[in-house]
Subunit: 85 residues, 2 copies
DNA sequence: TGCGAAATATCCCTTTCGGGAAAATTCTCT
DNA sequence: AGAGAATTTTCCCGAAAGGGATATTTCGCA
């Protein structure tokens, strides 16, 4: 299982891969700079929706592998920013 | 990209698959009952760390598929409940 | 040595989460 | 179908934390 620290590291790596600064990725993801800094640092209390926003901005796909081995992955790019409530 | 609502649905499905009640899974995950209710409902502001705790309790693995197709899946390490700060 | 990027700190408002119990919804069984 | 049981959801409260924006400090690299 990936922990938050690892996810943060992946996000950082991907961001650099794309040649983006933190504030640029933050803006592109619709989150604050401070949020991105804390996310890359692995803070466990970051909000999940925003994490997904950042991942989406990076073009990454999140997947869940069930105990039986089946991997569930949604659509690759869905710039949905808000769906709760 | 999986959105929070979908993740919540997957969690609910997995929970039922295991024959657990919400309060049982919440207890097993170390989160509050209300948190689990909100998570399964797809609330986007749930805390990432707790979501991972719940997924771990269900035996699910989280993975990130990078744009280049490489899938990153952390080791199925111990159910760490607290690692930041 | 100096500039851009990254990390921190602070202010301040909004929101989350937990716990217990009631209310509401869903399911089961005769 | 109806009663009753089980499960889920919501509510209240308070404590705690998130996070945006900005200013400042630290770090990295040429």
């Amino acid at each position: 299982m990936l922990n938050v620290a690892t996810i943060g590291q992946i996000i950082r790596d991907e961001r650099k891969e794309l040649g983006l600064r933190q504030d640029e990725l933050a803006a592109a993801s619709g989150v604050g700079l401070r949020f991105l800094v804390e996310l890359e640092r692995g803070k466990v209390t970051v909000q999940m929706g925003k994490v997904l926003d950042v991942l989406a901005a990076l073009g990454c796909e999140l997947q869940i592998k069930r105990p039986d081995g089946i991997v569930i992955a949604g659509r690759a790019d869905a710039p949905k920013k808000d769906e709760a409530e």
